[in-house]
């Protein structure tokens, strides 16, 4: 791929989006697709104004955003020390790393009926589930990060007679940051996916709840608009995390 094509790629992406939108519009107007099944752009864009008037954009976004932030922060607060503990205690690491790997593969979101029994349809249920889901990748990557600190750096520290706190602050933590960040990035994505998913399933909370409500009321254009909004939120989150990762570890 030439440099010019690479520079023009975002423009082509925009063009593709416009062509796709025009095709849907044409297909609906021609009667090939029912507007009750696939809402055309001419109905979806005005629906954003209705959503805004009903406060179904900012307020649900804030609710979801706050829950994702709290869940990720809680997962990091628990997962980072736990990962460090495993990396520095080989016996416990041997005992728990298999469980962590199993939890990473397990469909934890399916436990939500269990949490409903314990805590009911509440914000606490949503945040707790997202915390658990985000905890696993954060802990696994923190463990890998601290285990992956080059021994030569630790030996340099020893030769300078650094104490435990200095070793952690000046050697282990800086060396572990890039891998820790990969875990945090996964944790944020998992927390977002889980939060919106649980909101949708239990019909409670932010963006996921709005999609569920709009479908229940068969308000199809607004439902498509809200799904588009969630796509944009995911896209912005992904770009922000990529930018942050580049800042933490420049290529």
């Amino acid at each position: 791929m030439t440099k010019t094509s690479r520079r023009l790629a975002p423009l082509y992406s925009l063009g593709l989006l416009v062509v796709f939108g025009a095709f849907i519009e044409l297909a609906v107007r021609a009667g090939w697709i029912l507007p009750n099944i696939v809402a055309p752009p001419s109905l979806v864009f005005p629906a954003f104004a209705d959503l805004r008037a009903n406060d179904e954009i900012v307020q649900p976004f804030v609710v979801t955003f706050i829950h994702v932030v709290i869940a990720t922060a809680a997962a990091a607060a628990l997962g980072l020390p736990f990962g460090y503990f495993l990396a520095r205690n080989p016996t416990f690491d041997k005992a728990y790393r298999g469980w962590l790997a199993a939890a990473f593969a397990a469909p934890l979101v399916l436990l939500y009926p269990l949490f409903l029994v314990f805590f009911g349809r509440s914000y606490f249920t949503v945040v707790l589930m997202s915390t658990i889901v985000a905890f696993v990748p954060i802990a696994i990557h923190a463990r890998d990060a601290f285990l992956g600190v080059p021994p030569v750096l630790l030996n340099v520290g020893k030769s300078f007679n650094v104490d435990k706190i200095q070793r952690f602050r000046l050697i282990e933590l800086p060396a572990a940051v890039p891998t820790i960040f990969i875990g945090l990035r996964l944790g944020v994505i998992y927390a977002l996916v889980n939060t919106i998913g649980v909101e949708f399933l239990i019909d409670f909370g932010g963006l996921g709840r709005v999609v569920s409500d709009l479908y229940a009321f068969f308000n199809i254009p607004q439902m498509y608009a809200e799904i588009l909004l969630i796509l944009v939120v995911s896209m912005v989150l992904l770009w922000s995390l990529d930018a942050l990762q580049r800042w933490v570890r420049p290529q």
Binding site: S5, L116, N194
Partner: protein
């Protein structure tokens, strides 16, 4: 008993003891946290219910058909996107954002398209698994040794021959890794879709038990689902490491 086993056993015993203590404490609504004995009984009893097998079969075929569709489409699109870097760069923003979006929010669209029955679950399973497969295959395509491609071209291979003789054999590892991720997602999204709206499947049985406050049965079904999901993942991991 070595120290690792001892730590695992003690941890498990502590967790189960805390649970049993909570179950017998009377702090929660009656039946909300059933004692372990009741859950074990429900777990064993469910295997005698014909309902379980009928619903297990429904979930299994939804997952398997969805997965097969995702594999076919994911490998095809992955090969195309990997072979055409410009096209790959143009669709990358859409693929990446769709890949990280919670797929469950597309369930209403799936239901509008094909109804609330099993086809919507198949569609959801396919939608959730296609992205890891497609992304892994497209990335794998970019890593193929260019010498192999030049050899294929110098032998004047047709497009199909290039795909079957060069691309697919070189893409074995990314296909397997995408399939492993995709299969797990297929199981999760199918069960979640069944839980949300369905009259069939393991997910439906679970939420039905919850709705009728048959909590031990619900725990037993969740346990069964976890055993199946983790077991399938372990099986695929073992097969892929061969």
């Amino acid at each position: 008993m070595n120290r690792t086993r001892l730590i695992q056993s003690v941890t498990l015993i502590v967790i189960l003891a805390i649970y049993e203590g909570l179950a017998r404490s009377g702090w929660f609504y009656q039946g909300a946290i059933p004692p372990l004995g009741e859950i074990a009984r429900a777990f064993v009893t469910q295997f005698g219910q014909p309902d379980l097998y009928a619903n297990l079969w429904v979930t299994a075929y939804e997952v398997l058909i969805g997965f097969a569709l995702a594999m076919a489409a994911g490998v095809l699109f992955g090969v195309v996107l990997g072979a055409a870097p410009l096209l790959g760069a143009v669709v990358a923003p859409f693929v990446d954002s769709l890949a990280t979006t919670p797929k469950i929010i597309f369930l209403p669209i799936a239901m509008l398209l094909v109804g609330t029955g099993p086809p919507s679950k198949v569609l959801m399973a396919a939608l959730s698994a296609i992205f890891p497969v497609m992304i892994a295959v497209a990335a794998g395509m970019r890593e193929i040794n260019p010498v192999l491609i030049r050899v294929g071209r110098s032998f004047r291979c047709t497009w199909w021959q290039m795909v079957t003789k060069i691309y697919i054999p070189s893409l074995k590892a990314p296909i397997i890794s995408g399939a492993r991720l995709g299969f797990g997602l297929c199981i999760v999204i199918t069960l979640l879709s069944e839980i949300k709206i369905s009259k069939l499947g393991l997910g439906f049985l679970t939420i039905d038990a919850y709705n009728h406050y048959q909590i031990p049965q619900m725990y037993a079904l969740l346990l069964l689902i976890f055993v199946i999901a983790v077991g399938m993942n372990a099986l695929i991991t073992r097969l892929s490491s061969r």
